[in-house]
């Protein structure tokens, strides 16, 4: 039995759901950040699945660009995390409730 398109979509939805749950539940900034990365990966899986099932390269190009955005996000996000930690001595998101470093 071949894997169907809907299997991949279901797996992607499950991973995305777990990521959303983590972003809501976690209070550590870095853990939230990792959950966001997981959500991006879930979306990537749908792109690749559609690209493979429709025999179209566009989906894979979008995955490529999403990965670039994720890399940029990692650099800037971790810079923000370090700046917040330097000023507040804490990584708890509740401690950083104002938009000021």
């Amino acid at each position: 039995m071949e894997p169907q398109l809907s299997w991949y979509l279901a797996l992607s939805a499950i991973l995305f759901t777990i990521g959303v749950t983590g972003v809501i539940i976690k209070r550590n900034v870095i853990a939230m950040f990792m959950c966001i990365e997981m959500m991006l990966n879930a979306v990537n899986l749908t792109f690749v699945a559609f690209a493979s099932f429709f025999q179209d390269v566009t989906g894979q190009l979008f995955v490529f660009i999403v990965m670039t955005v994720a890399a940029a996000e990692a650099a800037v996000g971790l810079g923000i995390i370090i700046a917040i930690f330097r000023n507040r001595e804490s990584l708890d998101v509740d401690d950083a409730s104002i938009l000021k470093l």
Binding site: W7, I18, I25, V57, M67, A71
Partner: protein, 222 residues
């Protein structure tokens, strides 16, 4: 065979994803997240996308996670402390939203018609590097260039954020060792152009001469 591989790697991905959320220690979360990335890369291989699978391993499991683990180690955070009560209501909210999304998954699995793959694609080159490169530099050149600008902005932004500010914060450490200050800087009663040197050998002495109150002591951290 492919179905078996799918079930294996999907199970690995879901298990590792649950571990990312369940772990209290961010370092263990990061290692579980690497498991998610690796199993997704294996799924990409089964979807005939070898280039994306390689990039997934190199960029995600390699570069990004090294950066994350590096920051975790650098900040030396221990496990999350006890849960405060203020955000407790978020847990039922999260469970409710997850239930909605899982219901959507069930909806997809039950009602969406199976898409028929035309299996003439044995000679397909969709996922190969040269077809991706050809599309990237012809039809999708504009997104590619915009991506390069985005990376440039990310470099500048990360440098700006990570740089120490020019002002001496109250907890900042004066550079240890012999420091030489002009008399006009140390003594408020001196003439403004009095540049006779005043030497300080230790951090404390320099701080006392400059009138800097050392609010926080960092000496036990290193």
């Amino acid at each position: 065979m492919l179905a078996l591989l799918f079930i294996l790697f999907a199970g690995m991905a879901i298990g590792c994803a649950l571990a990312v959320v369940a772990q209290r220690n961010p370092l263990y979360s990061a290692i579980s997240l690497i498991g998610v990335f690796i199993s997704l890369a294996c799924l990409y291989v089964t979807l005939a996308a070898p280039f994306i699978a390689a990039v997934q391993v190199i960029v995600y499991a390699g570069a990004i996670m090294v950066l994350v683990v590096f920051v975790i180690m650098l900040l030396n955070i221990e496990q999350e402390e006890h849960r405060r009560t203020r955000l407790k209501f978020l847990v039922p909210v999260a469970i409710g939203l997850s239930a909605v999304l899982i219901a959507e998954v069930a909806f997809i699995l039950v009602t969406v018609q199976e898409f028929r793959v035309n299996q003439s694609a044995t000679t397909s080159d969709v996922g190969l590097t040269h077809s991706i490169g050809a599309s990237l530099f012809t039809r999708y050149l504009l997104p590619f260039e915009i991506t390069s600008i985005l990376l440039l902005m990310a470099i500048v932004g990360a440098m700006t954020l990570a740089r120490r500010g020019g002002l001496l914060s109250s907890g900042a450490r004066v550079v240890p060792g012999a420091s030489v200050f002009p008399m006009s800087m140390v003594n408020p009663n001196a003439e403004p152009d009095d540049l006779r040197p005043v030497e300080a050998d230790t951090t404390d002495e320099a701080a006392r001469l400059l009138g800097v109150t050392r609010i926080r002591d960092y000496s036990d951290r290193d």
